[in-house]
């Protein structure tokens, strides 16, 4: 397999960023990782994952949809869309890479969301195989192998070298564009590292989490479960889980009056917020119980019902570590799963 030695990784980053915008994961001053535009001298984060998911690249927290000029009774619509620049994202984990296929199912289904599609088409996703999963990881429950992630190119590290594996046509082109920096390498040590990671995977505290109790056919059963009252009791109704989630894709469309025009923007929204479904009269989800239920039903029941059984969760574990009251999808799944 083609590889580059670890000490040359930064020169590879320099070479890529000379041609197109490159984003890598870096550690911030507080020790948590985030995606940053690569500038010479930055080092790749050793953390397992970023706090904010990689969905930002395709579905940013806010984006302008259109501008309006209003003069008297006349309205002019200004299309503000621009062709996205080509960019590379380096260091995406298997879970986040899978989240893109889930987001694709929403945004690329008819009618196609051109804002999302534009950025998606101009991106090259370089994933990073996991070697040290955390206790909060449960991607294997959703059928992923984090040691061989999806994406356009998958990168594996054996500690000394980074190995490159093409996974799509786009990835093939990308590897060709950097092939002068890569050399053939022996994967014996890599295989060892992967074997070790797979063994750890089996020992994870959530390794036995099962999705077999969920899916579209359980809609009414889970919806009417009595467990929701207890599960949602402590929920604060904040949007942390939805905003750090790589697959949460609900949005709001709002207008902002700049004083010299109207900007219509879309921004992330959360089904946990009380105004999510609020209408001029009434609200179809009045209590936090209903809103809490909606989020988990969407991921575990509604999404698979509409997408051939694929779940709307990738097991990245962000909600496990970030919920202010430590209520999360794992606790929900364990409470709702069929006993016996």
């Amino acid at each position: 397999m083609l590889k580059i030695s670890a000490d040359k990784l930064n020169s590879l980053f320099d070479a890529i960023s000379a041609k197109q915008t490159l984003y890598i994961t870096v550690d911030n001053e507080k020790g948590s990782a985030e995606y940053k535009k690569y500038e010479s001298g930055m080092t790749l984060s050793k953390s397992l994952n970023t706090v904010r998911s990689a969905k930002d690249f395709f579905f940013p927290q806010t984006e302008n949809l259109a501008d309006f000029k209003v003069e008297g009774k006349n309205i002019e619509v200004i299309d503000v869309r621009e062709e996205s620049e080509d960019f590379v994202v380096f260091g995406v984990r298997a879970c986040d890479a899978r989240s893109f296929t889930i987001l694709d199912k929403v945004f690329l289904s008819e009618p196609v969301d051109s804002y999302y599609k534009n950025r998606r088409e101009h991106s090259t996703i370089i994933t990073m195989a996991c070697t040290k999963p955390a206790e909060t990881c449960f991607c294997t429950a959703f059928g992923m192998d984090p040691t061989v992630p999806e994406g356009d190119v998958a990168v594996f590290s054996d500690g000394e070298n980074y190995f490159f594996l093409e996974r799509t046509e786009k990835g093939k082109k990308f590897i060709a564009s950097i092939s002068d920096m890569l050399e053939d390498g022996d994967t014996a040590k890599l295989n060892e590292v992967q074997e070790k990671a797979r063994n750890i995977m089996k020992k994870l505290p959530l390794a036995n989490l099962s999705t077999k109790s969920f899916g579209g056919e359980r809609l009414m059963k889970h919806f009417n479960s009595e467990k929701w009252a207890e599960l949602s009791e402590s929920c604060l109704g904040c949007g942390t889980c939805t905003f750090v989630c790589p697959t949460c894709q609900c949005y709001d469309i709002r207008d902002f009056n700049t004083g010299h025009g109207i900007k219509r923007f879309r921004c992330w929204d959360s089904c946990m917020y009380s105004d999510f479904t609020k209408m001029a009269h009434g609200n179809s989800r009045n209590s936090q119980l209903e809103r809490f239920r909606q989020r988990f039903m969407h991921k575990l029941v509604y999404f698979p019902a509409n997408n051939n059984g694929e779940f709307g969760c990738v097991g990245c574990g962000r909600c496990l570590s970030k919920c202010p009251v430590s209520m999360n999808i794992v606790k929900v799944m364990k409470a709702l799963e069929d006993k016996e």
Partner: protein, 323 residues
């Protein structure tokens, strides 16, 4: 401590003093306890937990819980009692419907601080003579206990319970705390340095509203940021102005009522030091209008609901500190 609390809770349930208990419920791991209401002795035995990681302040839940039928038993740490008192003062909690048992406070530990050390795959933590022995998927790690202390406990203001019906363990004292150190440090920076500091911090905000929703002082039925007619674009950090506006107003709305419980910073997924904004107000109030600790009692007037005819003029801001 946990056993004593469960035992006492069971007694109070059995003799009918209370019909519910609010506390912390065991999670998937050793560190992710969830605030929960327990109704039976059996639930308490099975799930009740009180340890180094039960940080959450449960007093805000009492706003709703104290309006339900019957009395509820609440285990409150010293800092939680300040929030509790403040809510009683504002008539948000119905005091008669809560039976408060004061329990010792921290220092509590913060798993994020352990993970920030690069320790991953944690399975259990043991405290041996103030050294944490951390069992992980990748072997045993060690770190000093004090380095894992949660931010809110690092600058603890008081170990005294200001409201309780009974105590388990001994009551503590109000402490000399260093909580204004960082505020002072910022005050001594130049305006530009301060601006850059906050620009960097606040630009991380994702507007999840966790700080607002967890805050025991934020108990409005309908927040101004949830009211579309207010013209404030909630949810959307569309421009750096939005986050500044949100955080200034959030802190301002609780100025004089914030007990400095530190929950806002604890829950922030982006680790923004939000408590500094609140402490700035507390420090200003203390220095300009006399020492005041929100929640210390249920009778004194809040500083922003009060005035003296000889209060200082706002121009004092221009006269002190660094421009």
């Amino acid at each position: 401590m946990q056993e004593a609390m469960i035992k006492r809770a069971k007694e109070l349930l059995a003799d009918g003093t209370v019909n519910r208990v609010i506390g912390w419920k065991k999670g998937e791991f050793f560190y992710d306890a969830t605030p929960a209401v327990f109704r039976t002795a059996e639930e308490l035995d099975r799930q009740f937990i009180f340890d180094d990681f039960t940080q959450a302040n449960v007093s805000k839940y009492l706003v709703k819980e104290s309006r339900k039928d019957g009395k509820i038993l609440a285990f409150l740490k010293p800092c939680d009692t300040y929030s509790f008192n403040q809510l009683v003062k504002e008539h948000r909690i119905i005091r008669e419907n809560v039976y408060v048992v004061g329990v010792p406070g921290g220092p509590k530990l913060d798993i994020e601080k352990i993970k920030a050390k690069g320790i991953t795959g944690v399975l259990s933590v043991k405290n041996e003579n103030y050294t944490l022995k951390i069992e992980t998927l990748y072997g045993t790690e060690e770190m000093p206990f004090y380095e894992a202390i949660s931010g809110k406990c690092e600058s603890c203001k008081s170990k005294k319970h200001v409201a309780y019906d009974e105590l388990i363990g001994e009551d503590g004292e109000v402490l000399e705390s260093n909580r204004f150190d960082m505020v002072e440090k910022l005050e001594n920076m130049t305006a530009e340095e301060r601006f850059n500091f906050w620009q960097n911090e606040l630009s991380k905000c994702i507007r999840c509203n966790a700080c607002r929703n967890v805050c025991p002082a934020c108990t409005c039925e309908n927040c101004v940021f949830d009211n579309p007619k207010s013209g404030v674009d909630n949810k959307a950090p569309a421009d750096s102005f939005e986050e500044k506006m949100f955080h200034i107003i959030r802190a301002f709305h609780v100025a004089g009522r914030c007990t400095d419980c530190g929950e806002c910073s604890r829950v922030c997924p982006q680790n923004i030091p939000l408590h500094l904004l609140n402490r700035k107000f507390i420090k200003d109030i203390n220095s300009l209008y006399g020492e005041y600790q929100a929640g210390a009692d249920t009778t004194t007037k809040a500083p922003l609901n009060d005035y003296n005819t000889d209060d200082c003029e706002p121009s004092i801001v221009h006269e002190r500190g660094v421009e």
